[in-house]
Symmetry: C2
Subunit: 278 residues, 2 copies
Amino acid sequence: MLKDFKWQPQGQASFGGALLGLYQRLDQCFVRLAQGCQAREFKFPSHLPAVTLEKLDYFNSFPHLITMPVTLERSEENLENFRGNRALHDGAISLTRIAPIRHVLTPAACYHFYQFFDGSSLEGPLYLTTAATCNRCEDYYEPLQRQWNFNMREIVCIGAADTVKSFLAEHEEKVSALAKKYGIAITWQDATDPFFKPAQNPKHLAQRLDPVKKEMIFGDGLAIGSVNFHRNYFGEAFHITANGEAAYSGCVAFGLERWMHAVIKTFGEYPKDWPDFA
Amino acid sequence: MLKDFKWQPQGQASFGGALLGLYQRLDQCFVRLAQGCQAREFKFPSHLPAVTLEKLDYFNSFPHLITMPVTLERSEENLENFRGNRALHDGAISLTRIAPIRHVLTPAACYHFYQFFDGSSLEGPLYLTTAATCNRCEDYYEPLQRQWNFNMREIVCIGAADTVKSFLAEHEEKVSALAKKYGIAITWQDATDPFFKPAQNPKHLAQRLDPVKKEMIFGDGLAIGSVNFHRNYFGEAFHITANGEAAYSGCVAFGLERWMHAVIKTFGEYPKDWPDFA
């Protein structure tokens, strides 16, 4: 029974005290990794425009994951009807007319960067980092391990193919060293993105044939992060060029709550037994 | 023209570099204020259960402000229909069947605390702090000043009436001193919450007759924060007791992007001219 922790069955965690301290120290640890390549940090909004995700074929590939921020159509009549409806039935909101839905709650932190640098001609590689609250709808949820909303720290490189490949190889080693230093057992496994109906999606087949995603698998089988090579997919979709060609990109992603889980599973629930991650 | 800043017309800001540094230093400044009363920090999920807001009559008072996280009903047939629909028409998503909506995106950071301490009998006052991304739907948006999603740092006290009143009086003075120290011109004004059809809402009338909200108004008329006395409203709604009676509560709230605006408006757009907030 964790102290200062509360779980809502719909996939959401609240925490304070030593758990928040752990969360913050883990994130700082990954920020220091990002500082190793002079990554520039950004803060992004909660939502991504639907048109941005459409460029990535997201609605076709991951319809089961999306959460959309929906507001009521703002006419006085409609808002009055909403109130008159009495808002809740069995804990669920009864909608009246809604405004057009033009956004999706951020499903992965790094998408914001490709949008931010949309149309850029890069003179040298970009090294970037951000942490974002991500939302992914799932069939079931488990505290710290599988949450509707959770936090992801990413370190991203956008540039020429070789630069991105070196960045990813170097960070795979650095993450292995970091995990070893703090006693978190991880192994690396080739993986694919969680496509809807994967067998029918040519992208899934392409990822199977030529893996571009490696997951950091914690002892009990949970992916607590990943290293991803996007080739020039985002460069093409967002017209970002390096040396006159579509830029390549790659990212290293850390699931912050999943790292908390790995620490607690490895060292127990007493904060005095946890590594300091200093 | 701010550097490392991008604005999406739908009320959302992205920033890095010196602006992110300013954001972080401002927040740290308010965290130090919170440490002055040994406030315990918490991190909360993005969403609040609708049943929690229903207890506060939120859907009746603020239907115009809410943003709901909506997901698709997860049957294979429904997800296939969504894909077949082609997701976007004029940049807007075409829905198929949606799952019951049981949440609202956090509209104010402190609500999470009343839910977290639901049913508690307090032995002494609680001093708490959290920062949260809040969502409020508005008629129009302006960078840093009025955003669909923005960040709010709050310091909260829950306890006996006198304790809460002293907390609020003390923090009003501390905030005035802090603003003066850094050269941000603020005045205090009685205010009311932004009710839908205020003239018809008895809560609005009650707030007019006996003000419970004081806003920190920055020079050009923008509220960059507020001090709020909730009486025992949350204590009653969430069965939190102090000395056997419904607990009183109050909070001091800071709009982080609005404080950034106040700094830029006061000192200009060059970071070298900004206070260090150390």
